[in-house]
Symmetry: D2
Subunit: 366 residues, 4 copies
Amino acid sequence: MRGNFGEHFRLTIFGESHGSAIGIVIDGVPAGTPIDEAAIAADMARRAPGNDPTATARKEADAVRIVSGILNGRATGTPLCGMIENTNTRSSDYAQMSARMRPGHADYAGRVKYHGYNDPRGGGHFSGRLTAPLVFAGAIARQLLAVKGIAIGAHIAAIGGAADTPMDPVHVDAAALAQLRGLRFPLLDPEREAPMRAIVEAARLEGDSVGGVIECAAAGVPAGIGSPFFGSLESVTSQLLFSIPAVKAVEFGDGLAISALRGSAANDPMRFDEDRVVCTSNHNGGVTGGITNGMPVLLRVAIKPTPSIAREQQTVNVLTGENEALSITGRHDPCIVPRAVVVVESALAVALCELMMDDAANNALK
Amino acid sequence: MRGNFGEHFRLTIFGESHGSAIGIVIDGVPAGTPIDEAAIAADMARRAPGNDPTATARKEADAVRIVSGILNGRATGTPLCGMIENTNTRSSDYAQMSARMRPGHADYAGRVKYHGYNDPRGGGHFSGRLTAPLVFAGAIARQLLAVKGIAIGAHIAAIGGAADTPMDPVHVDAAALAQLRGLRFPLLDPEREAPMRAIVEAARLEGDSVGGVIECAAAGVPAGIGSPFFGSLESVTSQLLFSIPAVKAVEFGDGLAISALRGSAANDPMRFDEDRVVCTSNHNGGVTGGITNGMPVLLRVAIKPTPSIAREQQTVNVLTGENEALSITGRHDPCIVPRAVVVVESALAVALCELMMDDAANNALK
Amino acid sequence: MRGNFGEHFRLTIFGESHGSAIGIVIDGVPAGTPIDEAAIAADMARRAPGNDPTATARKEADAVRIVSGILNGRATGTPLCGMIENTNTRSSDYAQMSARMRPGHADYAGRVKYHGYNDPRGGGHFSGRLTAPLVFAGAIARQLLAVKGIAIGAHIAAIGGAADTPMDPVHVDAAALAQLRGLRFPLLDPEREAPMRAIVEAARLEGDSVGGVIECAAAGVPAGIGSPFFGSLESVTSQLLFSIPAVKAVEFGDGLAISALRGSAANDPMRFDEDRVVCTSNHNGGVTGGITNGMPVLLRVAIKPTPSIAREQQTVNVLTGENEALSITGRHDPCIVPRAVVVVESALAVALCELMMDDAANNALK
Amino acid sequence: MRGNFGEHFRLTIFGESHGSAIGIVIDGVPAGTPIDEAAIAADMARRAPGNDPTATARKEADAVRIVSGILNGRATGTPLCGMIENTNTRSSDYAQMSARMRPGHADYAGRVKYHGYNDPRGGGHFSGRLTAPLVFAGAIARQLLAVKGIAIGAHIAAIGGAADTPMDPVHVDAAALAQLRGLRFPLLDPEREAPMRAIVEAARLEGDSVGGVIECAAAGVPAGIGSPFFGSLESVTSQLLFSIPAVKAVEFGDGLAISALRGSAANDPMRFDEDRVVCTSNHNGGVTGGITNGMPVLLRVAIKPTPSIAREQQTVNVLTGENEALSITGRHDPCIVPRAVVVVESALAVALCELMMDDAANNALK
């Protein structure tokens, strides 16, 4: 249940990692919207495995079959279903371990919830592979936003504790974000790449994994988007961000750090820039009272290290009732952070579509 | 719009800080539930201002009038409306400044969204005062959870950068949480109270404010609650937590810090404790794959410093079109963190009710 | 649960007939909308009892207290709560019978659902009195629609089997609908009033009651409102219409009668009226495929006879476990149809607001 | 937009009649539920065309591919996607007429809503073919209900004005309903089949079509299911029933006819049948106050005559701007009523699942 997102730009994700196919139904793409399938493919490729040494060697084509909702390159306005057939799955890697609950994974929690009937192969519906449909939705959302002058981009803010230069919260522009999107290992300071890769490689060699932080921004978001309380930009966006497997923290603006500031330092002074109101700092990440204030929207998410590791771990065997040791074999990403960058961007893109549509509904009957 | 929370335990908040009244409609309290009004009053008092030097001197009775849904001390099963009349409002303090947008507040964002028609008095619908209805709902949610053996409690994890001892993530018990709830300034290490108060007092004397961090736990939550993706425990809970004005970050388990760990350190090993599966650490905060694993649920939220400060700030006057300086007068909390503790607990209590009801619905037709 | 309506123009109804108060929260009224309180009062008066011999002699002021969401005569854009205090309740009339389940009422069904804890006084949350908040919402919805050139009106199509002249389905104009709204006993053929009243009076004298049919139209609805399947105009409107206690049938266009026609008679031929597309008949009631086609929207609802009757009925006493006879005393409407006219109009007005807002959201991101 | 149904048993329908495929995602099937694919196929066959002279000669296999949510014959508990590939489509029959708006169809309404971008082939997303996924969902829902002792069945109550014997509203049993489900042309009085078929055949020969009425019952529904107001059994069920293309009226119990009765005739007397409360009549169709009372749930829907007819009709050509005559060629059902029987049953089955799950959620936290 609660498998749907949204009231306006609605997403319904389905599928299991090693089942027949995975997919998504998107309801809310305006009729007539030209759909740029090359741009979708580009985003899908950013998430796809097999393209970088930080990622699993599995190859997934992740080619999306458009089942409905697009005709002659344009959205029909009715539910748009995109599907990705599952191929190249080596379930035997996973089958042997299904009785031993993998630490850090949803194996045990899912087993209790679904009374043992969920599909354990490859993580089933819990698999990070299910973020591929979210990227598909995000790629479409991004196209809708682009027409409104909104651009979204993200970088690897940290891997294994090693940080990139943070974004300038006040000056974020669309061109810089587009440039980031072109990078397979998006950093603001390219000199950080080598040390970060070294951290990942060291972990990989030890059969271990590392996590990281992704910082994401949206430029060009007009003021007035979002609502107080349950429909706050942070509420809606965090619902999506925490849907991404492995996300354990979400921050807006200064986030955790703002809690150590004084009000005089945390408040963003305002001034007129010609007839536009701007802030001279952006500790609030472009959102106050749950509503955008016209400054760049800025957020960070913490990604935990990939739980699938080769190193031996202690766990339970639910069939034998014994405590056992487990070494996870198979192909796994020592670090999913680079592949997760586009997933985080997608979540923000979807949230902004939802909220901008909400705002239009609000104002429809004036 | 999007002013509602929930599909099962539904909340609809209404009211403006200095309007006629504020309130909430709760749909989903089971018929026949005995409602402990004294426990509600106790929670309301924890949030109410005027009880501590860290808070505003305004007195708000915050007595909740039960308008519907309770008969002879038990829930009727139909929508339960609780209302708090607004009294003791000194709007003149605020009226003078409504043209000057208060930095860090929703004044400007709200003005754009509502085209200048929202109620500016006391922050209107954006006011922290609107968390009182949320505490009312949380107090009822907590009673429902108590019957299921679930206890929720929180402490001030930090104020102005000064930290309390963190909770032991593995051993959280109901009695310890109950003890915390009895404290007006809840800390695990009582020796931290004096330095924290000194930080607040220093800020107050300088016409400034400070923020902080609240750590909250739920003990006794069974495994299997929550869903993957959009209905994850983190997604649903964060929607509520980010509804609380001033919250800028939400973390589960190790949160941001987990991003710097290796998988071998972040994964929580499992073992049988008699026939119960337990983890020997709790970096995941009791949630994997969006679903509880039977360990304590642990989260932290960052509260920004109160934006209402006496110190002069630079801002815009939207009527004159001029940049102007602003000193906010009136009664304001130099630190809202102590009062926000019960609000955070309430959000978690509501989220758990929602998700446990969802789980029951899932299993209804077996 | 499911006590809310809508995704855009959201309603949350609360209250019990003889409790403290009843009310509604409306989320979705655009900020800045001027609210005509006199027009609201006029609609409330149309529903209020005590104004006509067909209705109960109880007097209910039904004055709505605006608790939130309106400032200086305009909507603030945040949730609008209207509340009606309960006064003049004579619960003793009802108390004596709460053990004997009234036939045709929700007493028994409600007792099972709520395990005996629901408020039985005056029907509690099941009372027709709860339609007063719906009329309040409808009165506001009507004002929003009026700005878009949409007018709604209804008449008594039948009482106790005696029919009024049906509406001309092709030619419905706003002025004629406004005229109907000015009548306490709205009929297209005023000569039918005396015989209808005679039917009601005859039933009343025999301690009995009668039902009827209400026909309702909306003029000026643009083509393109509504969706196929679950969001069809008929789906959304019927959800609201069947929320009205005593409604047992809902028809659009020719309704039941269309099932006996051939396609060649039921299809509405189209032609250009200058550059506007019109139909030369309106068997479909202005809706095809769930979407408006620009013709008047036409519907009828069947209202069952008031179940509260003085005549002796056979029923069960749930406390004694005996079959018993029951004569309902107290003040009851021998016919609620005249008072229900404005409730039906309100349901259609709310549905149209919801769907027009949905359409605006759909088109927001083009 | 509003393309989803439900909060607990959630449906998301996608697809266009002559697109790549159509399908549905069902969220809420309990993990571990054995899925009887033969029973699904049997229901699909009841709806499928090509099996009866009343129906179109098109053959549609309507074989459902289970894309997700079932493993080893049991539901996994995660979203269940069923898909039907589109084959054997002869779009050329339709293509020629896409500029001429078919009377009685959604062509014009849809064109306005979707700005001309919707898929016109075969009616696109408006096609009756989209009821196939609903039947798939209904077949699963029926299996869930069967375990709870609930059976659903329906018959052709009328075709072209010729009526079958009505159901006995008080005595409806599961065996009789099962027997109806086994009939391709389900009638209570088999002697009515020949005259009904003659009516259909006469229409067909004249290039015309006929509509009809379907009466549907559920036996074994416990008392206490449904809610007052927006979640009434009638509200939720009618939302689904009016989603079925061609439905123009929905009645519960006596429906329209109850409006002509007196209260003393319409109220259903109650008595104890051992310790069970029963009614001695069932004018209310098993529902009072929106909640089931333990009597059979009874409803009727009016189906309009198939709008696709060969006879010449007057309409508009939206490309030329001219009024034109139109004769629809291609294969069409002269009467869809027999095929719609299982669709109506499916809608009721889905509604009951939704409401029973809602009831379980309500009672979860006692």
